[in-house]
Point group: C2
Chain length 342, copies 2
Amino acid sequence: MRANKKVVFKDYVTGVVEESDMEVVTTDTVQLKVPEGSTAVLLRNLYLSCDPHMRAQMTKNDRRGAMHNFLPGSVISGFGVGKVLDSGHPDFKTGEYVWGVTGWEEYSLIRAPETLFKIKHTDVPLSYYTGILGMPGLTAFVGFHEICSPKKGEYVFVSAASGAVGQLVGQFAKLMGCYVVGSAGSDEKVNILKNKFGFDEAFNYKKEPDLNAALERFFPEGIDIYYENVGGSMLDAVLLNMREHSRIAVCGMVSQYNLERSEGVHNLIFLVTKRIEMKGFNVIDHFHRHSQFVETIIPHIKDRKIAYMEDKAQGLDSAPAALVGLFAGRNVGKQLVVVADE
Amino acid sequence: MRANKKVVFKDYVTGVVEESDMEVVTTDTVQLKVPEGSTAVLLRNLYLSCDPHMRAQMTKNDRRGAMHNFLPGSVISGFGVGKVLDSGHPDFKTGEYVWGVTGWEEYSLIRAPETLFKIKHTDVPLSYYTGILGMPGLTAFVGFHEICSPKKGEYVFVSAASGAVGQLVGQFAKLMGCYVVGSAGSDEKVNILKNKFGFDEAFNYKKEPDLNAALERFFPEGIDIYYENVGGSMLDAVLLNMREHSRIAVCGMVSQYNLERSEGVHNLIFLVTKRIEMKGFNVIDHFHRHSQFVETIIPHIKDRKIAYMEDKAQGLDSAPAALVGLFAGRNVGKQLVVVADE
């Protein structure tokens, strides 16, 4: 039996999420064995992923098609990397590493381990499976290559470009021979986009009083592909600057999640006049392609053709602040929480 | 030489278009011959089409991707049906009927007749080539069959459903075996949708204080396909009621054209959570398919499998009121102007 520190979701959130909406407690103990006869898997959680969609899970919403909610009083769930401590499932062995949906706690009993992905390549940092080699990486890959239908030489704009997904979308686009501009919320991030991730241009949206003017400056010929991570007024400015037959992959709208009412988007008529395709997607529809994706990306990581940047918070006690910081843009690179050493 | 009555566009319009934004004049005379040596075609205009996109052409807008403007002081242009009075072009002969972009006047000299479509089937009312057999018909057909990727049994919602395009979309959807609901702006139109065009259900949006509640009532299982003609608050309500992997064909947003600033749309995040595809299109990209389309539709008209309703204004003097009435929803069925008898 071990004590099991965990991050508990206190109650539904309206407006801006705060650290006090979560609580770190060590009330339960956990047995380091799966229940006799079950097919569950017991994980030692190593890395937990802070992802924008988790804010949506904190808003009470029972509408069809909304994300399923966190349960008040329950441990927060999200993507993470763990080590199998015990297994009642024939596909998982003690000592193996996995990633998938787990709890924000030290030890998690996963009752449906079929949802977990086994980690075959352990010669890269395992934390990468919360980002470039996990859900965000596949999100960037599928969203760009499938939803955007990119062609060499096209003009690509990525918002929230230094985040887990954005930094990869920009690099995938550069590998395809596109012209890529990213927006981010600090000069430090803009510098990283240009000098570490190889974006052609980048700008700090907080310093641009007129987003439309900024986009006109960086895209005098207009935008072929917009990889949408933020929504709101940025989307409105983008719509003014899209080209005919251009595409918008709607991955998320992080600028909106902490608003009680989303901003209105006014320029949708340009969908018609410019024949724009705007498509939302969810990576869970594409998880069957994950192992093929990893085989494609790992050589690029080893050959240093793709750079990747993480922002690691140490320990479960720092997890609420790490998640809250994501929405204030405090992270530089992929935000994750280190629960334990490998 | 003949007098040539015409409808002149006076100046750019802000806000609601009024009859006084146009002027009917008979100042010019026209020679009923094409200029010596030219490849122009001289048309006697018979029917002129009142289409929502014409309002957008009245707003001054030089942004890339916007519609080209009418020129202040010039005759209004739009789709129409005419008879060839004289031709310098080898493809067109005197006495033939054509449809395409022409002037709002009695006689038009078409300097680029390659843009005109020859009318082969004259055993249907020629006015149909302003609607079911012309631009709006092809818009409905392509928008529904190509952009919406419909399947038998799907739930289809059409706004502005009694208009030129909407009435046909609903009937195409019924022919495919879909469940179809339409919205319109009067009880008379609702009655027509249900009893003449065969919609499963229809509602008067002006009598619905809560559009979301109305859609929930008619689509307890949600909407698979939304054929978007109006924009604004209807689109917001629709987004709440779309199903996963549903599609929105954005044909137009007529509720927005007379506003100085478009309404904001707040529910775009559902594009992500429900993986909605929202695609704008313009029928001019599909004009090469027109003759095949006509061959498909004419048998349905003759077999009375498709109903069609026109609202005919008599004479060029009534043209400004007919166009203005389109935006107030005064027309019942396809609005056109009869310039001359066949």
